[in-house]
Symmetry: C2
DNA sequence: TCAGGAATTTTACGCGCGTAAAATATATGT
DNA sequence: ACATATATTTTACGCGCGTAAAATTCCTGA
């Protein structure tokens, strides 16, 4: 056995007694060569652990097997989870995903687009920052490289959008809260992305449909430290008695987590039972929402479906080699997750 | 202006009136060409937005500018933060970091090593899973590619290790807890990595030095869903009265977060004041520990220093082109973070 | 057994760039 | 102004592989 002295496909081809181009075919698709040939190659592969040079491959292929995955904020476990889900599906399909996070910074998001270009990926799965995203840059990018948006929509950009149906999930939560207690006010920060906007509008609509007066408590904050904002601004809001209901529906779980901490610090007991001062509900079913005190009532996004459909949509595009005839938006319904906080 | 019709360095060189190899030199180091030449290239760069093909570059360079960054579990915001920190430093130094997560799975960690090999990175920053890591595979890998371990040590593997000094941080917390109340018992799960082991031993040592009887409550669990384990097993432990002290020092914050939820569900008030049934402390200063109810007393790892030293150590290795004359282990001290839970 | 077409393999070429060695231009000292 | 040393640029070659087109092999049916 003389391992790893194989330096390129040429050498590997000669030791396996096959011509190099045939070996090349094998690595691109093992089933594209005759069974007997395949057997010889695989036998050689056992002896000499050769692997094609990925840079030479990507230089010469019309299209790489790379997939770019971009999320706005990786320190948010929600995105870490969805990214993991997406990565797995890409790998299973024989692609190489590369994960990027904008870390909440628009300029970083722009830089990522440049990095992605040089990666020459077959396609990109992109969850934009939202309002602060450079729409023009992303649109231009998506014209060069097949791009599927998920989580946060940018109208008209990319081949498709896959996300959650806020106009279903929000009324559902409003309905639940109204049924079981006082009608909720809505706690939000300056909307960073379309989801935040839609949730706001969906809340107002849902309240009005019930003939109730919507009450939105909007606080300042344009960073991605949602918990910080929920805590600091929530505390202020409590002190200024801006919540005109004992039931607070938060625009997302991270904000709710901060608000829970604020309520705790103010000595407000949170939950449904007697003796509870407020009810707090969130949105997203953040991984940590099961471990807050009290555990957080929220609505779960169907991120398995979001990941699956995003990936499938992109793969279809890649396989067809064409662009989408029409931009399609797919939204999944949320599920009510009843816990102790509301 | 005729933009983007430039297809390669040859064409770009001709429109800028310079020979291609000189242009190549420029892209590798703008200062390596004469000022007048640089000016002409940069002028051309304004007109035609050309960028060298990264695959052709990496195929031909002796060494790529890639850095692999591997963490055990990206859904843990602690690792997301440290990864972000590391990435920034790599980019600032002109390298291209690529982030990988083992997602808690040893087989995935092994796969990542293979992916990394084909990336031919200049170096790798590696935070291993720990006990379940394939030591042999990582050791073999680190012989081929300069590898610096961080967070979790594997004795003798890699060029260096950078982490936290558990034998400083744990006694410090034990000391604080003893000073301010009952001596702590120690809540841990089956140790997944050396840190867990060291914290265990450091706790036992610290207690014995005080002439106190250590009391370790170890629960089952070999997944990375620490909060789940802390919650479920913590609840059981409360019910079985396994904690023989009103003060519980958790092996890490995620376990503590689960335990806080368990305490809440059992109706135990957590904190220092009168009327509190238990005190709970953690370790790591997890990003969420500021937002638990009550906020979590813990010890902060100096992850900025860990990231900085890890990156610097690796860069020195890469620049020197040699391997470390001796494997060095650097550990940083933790800082006590006093909050409401203990 | 042999023709004929399909499947497979080989020939031949090029991808976009790094880099050593050779050639040339620039800077320095007199 | 000239010779020498130094900094820069150019020449020339090769990296490891994909891929079209040509050549070959294979399989089928008569």
């Amino acid at each position: 056995m003389s391992p790893s002295r194989i330096r390129n496909m040429e050498e590997f081809a000669s030791v396996s007694g096959i011509s190099r181009p045939t070996v090349s075919k094998y690595f691109n698709d093992p089933d594209s060569v005759r069974a007997s040939t395949r057997a010889r190659i695989e036998a050689a592969l056992e002896q000499y652990d050769y692997r094609p040079n990925i840079y030479a491959i990507n230089q010469n292929r019309r299209l790489t097997k790379n997939i770019g995955v971009v999320v706005p904020y990786l320190a948010d476990p929600f995105f870490a989870e969805i990214a993991r889900n997406i990565e797995e599906r890409c790998i299973a399909a024989g692609f190489s995903p590369t994960l990027f996070s904008a870390h909440g910074q628009p300029d970083l998001e722009r830089d990522i687009l440049d990095t992605l270009r040089s990666l020459k990926p077959a396609g990109v799965l992109f969850a934009p920052l939202g309002r602060s995203s450079d729409r023009g840059a992303i649109e231009k990018f998506s014209r060069d490289i097949p791009t599927v948006l998920f989580d946060s929509n940018i109208e008209g950009v990319g081949e498709a959008f896959i996300g959650s149906n806020n106009f279903q999930s929000v009324p559902m939560m409003v309905d639940y809260l109204c049924r079981t207690g006082e009608a909720p006010c809505f706690f939000e920060m300056t909307p960073l992305n379309p989801n935040a906007n839609k949730r706001h509008n969906a809340y107002v609509e849902a309240m009005e449909q019930r003939g109730l007066e919507p009450n939105v408590v909007r606080v300042e904050g344009d960073s991605w430290n949602f918990e910080d904002i929920g805590f600091a601004e929530g505390k202020k809001a409590f002190e200024q008695k801006r919540f005109n209901s004992d039931t607070i529906f938060c625009s997302n779980d991270r904000l709710a987590i901060g608000l829970l901490a604020a309520a705790y610090e103010k000595g407000y007991r949170v939950g449904n039972g007697a003796g509870c001062a407020v009810r707090i509900a969130g949105h997203d079913d953040h991984p940590f929402s099961r471990f807050t005190s009290p555990t957080l009532t929220t609505v779960a996004q169907d991120y398995a479906s979001i990941a699956q459909t995003s990936v499938e949509t992109l793969f279809k595009l890649i396989e067809s080699g064409e662009r989408a005839e029409e931009r399609r938006e797919t939204v999944y319904e949320g599920k009510l997750v009843l816990r102790a906080s509301a």
